[in-house]
Each structure stands twice: as C-alpha cells, then as structure tokens.
C-alpha cells in the first residue's frame, strides 16, 4: 500500500505500508473507520436508552419496539437503527457488509464506481511516476484531476 501526499509543489511525503503494518497502524480499508465509530457511539456514547427511543420517521416504530417484536417496520429502519443493527448483524451473521447479487440498477451503479476507481488508479500511478520524475507542475495537474474525480462521491 502506498500513500503519497503532495502538500506543496516541492514537498512530498510518501508512506509505504504493507497490509500487516497498515493493520497495526489502525488503517483498515475493508471497513471504513467512520462506520465502526458510528456503531460504537450509538451503543456506548449515547447510551442504550437513547437507542431504544430512536424512532423511524417513515414507519413510526421505535428501536425498543423492534427489539420486542424482532421485526422491522420498513426499509428505512436500516438507516435509522443502524447503530443498533450493526452489532446485532455482526452477532447473527458474523458480517455487516452484503457480498451477494444486487438489483440491476445498483449493479450498474457499482460498475460505474468500478470504472471510476479504475480511472483513479491509473491517475494515481501517473502521479507517482511524475513525482518520481520530479515533474511537479504536471504532477499538480494530475493531483487536481484526482481531487475532482473524488469530490462528488464525498
């Protein structure tokens, strides 16, 4: 794994990490950190009482009602009760990320994402080459294009 940061035209910082080191440094690319944190905050930070009182604005059930009936009220509950559901799904399935098929509309969106990721990968390689060749002006241009590509997704 290679992380390259260009702060100013002449300052560059390169970090090389193997998967093992990445793990020990706490960088885990499989599960975004924010996702784990949101789960922990829901359960520990805000407390179980707050979680129980969470209410879905679409179907009207609370998290406490869900736990009592063990059936959710509508698809949107997966968004609203996410904090409580993540540890629950981990317990039931040993996983929190779907890896199977998707409806056609999502599958084509996923393909578009892949195409974008492919473009990013190519640009990042190009950036790496330019930085090594010390062609900083061109490198900065490529860096801006990478930024542009990344923007709408965030």
């Amino acid at each position: 794994m290679h992380l390259t940061e260009i702060e100013h035209q002449n300052v560059r910082k390169e970090i090389h990490l193997c998967d093992e080191c990445a793990k020990t440094k706490g960088i885990n690319f499989k599960v975004p950190l924010a996702e784990i944190l949101s789960g922990v905050i829901e359960v520990t930070g805000r407390g179980l009482k707050d979680l129980a009182e969470l209410k879905c604005p679409k179907c009207g059930i609370t998290y406490a009602e869900f736990r009592q009936r063990t059936r959710l009220g509508c698809p949107h509950d997966y968004v609203v009760f996410r904090g409580g559901l993540l540890p629950l799904l981990e317990k039931i399935h040993g996983a929190t990320q779907h890896r199977g098929k998707a409806p056609a509309t999502f599958a084509s969106a996923a393909r578009a994402r892949e195409t974008k990721e492919h473009a990013l990968e190519t640009l990042e390689k190009e950036l790496d080459r330019l930085v090594k060749a010390e062609e900083y002006e061109k490198a900065a241009e490529v860096r801006d294009r990478i930024r542009q590509l990344k923007e709408p997704a965030e």
Binding site: K58, C59, G60, I61, R69, T70, R71, L72, G73, C74, P75, Y78, V79, L85, L88, L89, I92, H93, G94, A95, T96, Q97, H98, R99, G100, K101, A102, P103, A104, T105, F106, A110
Partner: protein
C-alpha cells in the same frame, strides 16, 4: 372448492419425483429469496390499504411478467381458499403454516409442476422459492436467480449497498437467501448417531428442523437443514457450503444403512416387513404412524429388502396421506377418527394391497 386446486391434486410436485443426485437420502433441494418492495412498509407496519396495494402490484407483475420459458403461474388469493385448501398447500410445501394462518390480503403464485412458488405478503412482500428433487442446489439457484432478475425488471426492490436486500427480520437480510435440503435419515436415527450430525451442523451455523419448517417436530426421520447466515457471503458461496456438507451427511447415513444390513439384517428385515404388513392391512391408521412406517418402507426399498414399490408412489404417499390432502380428496371435512380410516383405505389402494 377451487377447480384449479384439483389440477394440482391430480399430479405430484416436481420435488416428489424421487430422482436427482443422492435421491436415496436427499428428498429435495429448496432455495428461497426474501424480497420487499421499495416505498412500502414491511407487513407488520403496513396499513390495510398498503397491503392490498402490494398484493395487487405484485400479482400483476408476477402474472404479467415473463418469468422464463414454461414459467406460467397460477395465482391463488388466500382469502378465496378454505382451511382445507390452505392446509393442502402447506402439505405440498407451497406456502408456510404462518401464511396459511394469516388474514388479509395474501396470496401465492404457483409455477408449473410446483417447482416454483411465490408467496405474496407473508413475512416479507415476496418469498420466492424453487424446489427440486434430490440434491440440485446449483440448478435451483440458477433458476431462482433468473426469476428474481425477471421480477427486478418490473418491480423496485428495497436494497442497500451495505445491507443488501432489506427484510422485515434482520436474520434474512443481505442475500435474503435460505437454502433448505430435506434429508431422510432412518439409519442414523435407528443407530442413535443423529446428535453427532446435529452438533457439527450447529458449529458451522446450519439449522436443523422437521418436515414442515420452523418449530416443527422431525417426523418420519425427515430432517431439513438450512443455512443460518444470509449476510456477508455471496449466494454462490452459500450454495457451495451446503453442497459441501450434504454429501457428507448422505455418506454417513448410507454407511449406517449398509452396516445395519450386514450386522442386523434379520432385525432390519423384520422391522421393514412388519411396516409393510401394517400399511397393507390396517383399517385405521394415524398420520404419525403412517409417516413412521412409510419411512421404514422407504429404507427397505432403498436397500433392496422390498421390491416392487415405486419410489415416486412412496414419496407421494408421504404427502397425500396428510390430513389436508385426505380431506381434499374426499371433498369434505373429516374428524380425526374418520380420517384414520380413510387414510388406511387410501394406503391399501396405493400399495396395491
């Protein structure tokens, strides 16, 4: 009585054919997918109007959709069916007990040869299932995936890239897939070695249930094993896992069958022939005793102890001697005692006694 149901009653379902790989131990392979429509609450929170809308929409799309070659369906609205007809569908594994007992707008679409059924408004808006005879998981998955794709073209499923297909119960989320394989394990039960299988299956997150699913007792030495995990693995992986486990159990059962035949032949033959004697001569017989004796007869046929009984007739008897089928056959409601007499007569006739 719905005339369409008589057509079903006239022939046995695809899964009862008694053919396919490992069919001496594996009765059937079933794959089901849970799906919900985007924009509607799940059924526990749906208002009567929304339930009716979901049923109408699903029915229209299922009937009007080209689900594939030879995939014409018969749609049955449950409110049009009496309790016997509902029980009849449960016994044929076309709907669940919960679906049969439920009220309001519900239905089931049944495919040709009963290899396909789509329950509408059960726990989820759609429960699609494909049944095959013997061990045919890959075939069942390929087929159900195509049907799912066809429905996906005209309905919008509730889906999230992280959690997959969204379901009312979090135990079904992700792939929404449950694979169930029905096994006949008489030798394992006789030799009291079932616990070993149950323990190893539970360790790898498989559940074991009786003939008619959740919460039912295993009768007639039939066991249904299913995957518990539906999220975090692809459908192909789930199929492969089950495909890896089932032949091992079948081998175990067959080893015990051979062992019994070698070491306790007279004892085994006596048990089988006594079962034949009762089945061919009884004047009244309960449904539990029927299952127990048919199980012995099936074992006898598979081991060559008894011949001249068609595996298919035998498989059909397991279903056609159930209360719903008998009452449907007689076109009237029968008390338990009357059912037992009708059942005995029916078995004698089918076995050519």
């Amino acid at each position: 009585m719905k005339p369409e149901l008589d057509d079903l009653a006239g022939s046995a379902g695809e899964w009862l054919r008694g053919t396919g790989p490992e069919s001496d131990v594996v009765i059937s392979s079933r794959v089901r997918l849970a799906r919900n429509l985007d924009g509607y609450p799940f059924l526990t929170q749906a208002a009567p109007k929304q339930r009716a809308e979901v049923e109408a929409l699903a029915r229209e799309r299922i009937e009007g959709n080209k689900l594939g070659k030879g995939m014409n369906v018969l749609y049955l609205a449950l409110k049009d069916l009496n309790p016997i007809e509902r029980l009849f569908l449960v016994e044929r594994h076309l709907i669940s007990r919960e679906h049969a007992a439920g009220d309001a707008d519900r239905g089931v679409a049944v495919g040709k040869r009963e290899a396909l059924s789509i329950m509408v408004n059960e726990e989820d808006h759609l429960r699609i299932q494909v049944l095959r005879s013997g061990l045919q998981l890959q075939e069942a998955w390929d087929e159900i995936s195509k049907i799912d794709d066809a429905l996906d073209r005209s309905l919008t499923y509730a889906f999230s890239p992280q959690f997959g297909y969204l379901t009312a119960c979090p135990t079904n989320v992700g792939t929404g897939m449950r694979i169930s394989v029905m096994l006949h394990l008489p030798a394992v039960v006789m030799t009291k070695t079932l616990d070993k299988i149950l323990h190893s299956l539970q360790r790898i997150n498989f559940t074991v249930r009786g003939l008619y699913g959740e919460g039912t007792q295993a009768t007639g030495d039939f066991y249904q094993i299913s995957n518990q995990v539906s999220l975090g693995k692809s459908e192909e992986e789930l199929v492969q896992e089950m495909q890896g486990v089932v032949p091992e159990i079948a081998k175990y059962e067959k080893t015990w069958r051979e062992k019994l035949l070698k070491e306790k032949r007279t004892w085994l033959e006596d048990k089988v022939w006594r079962a034949v004697g009762t089945l061919k001569n009884a004047r009244t017989i309960s449904s539990d005793e029927t299952l127990e004796l048919l199980s012995l007869l099936r074992l006898g046929v598979n081991l060559g102890v008894v011949d001249g009984v068609d595996q298919r007739v035998l498989n059909e008897l397991f279903v056609s001697t159930q209360p719903g089928h008998l009452q449907k056959h007689e076109h009237k409601i029968l008390e338990a005692a009357d059912r037992d007499a009708v059942r005995a007569a029916y078995i004698r006739k089918r076995l050519g006694a």
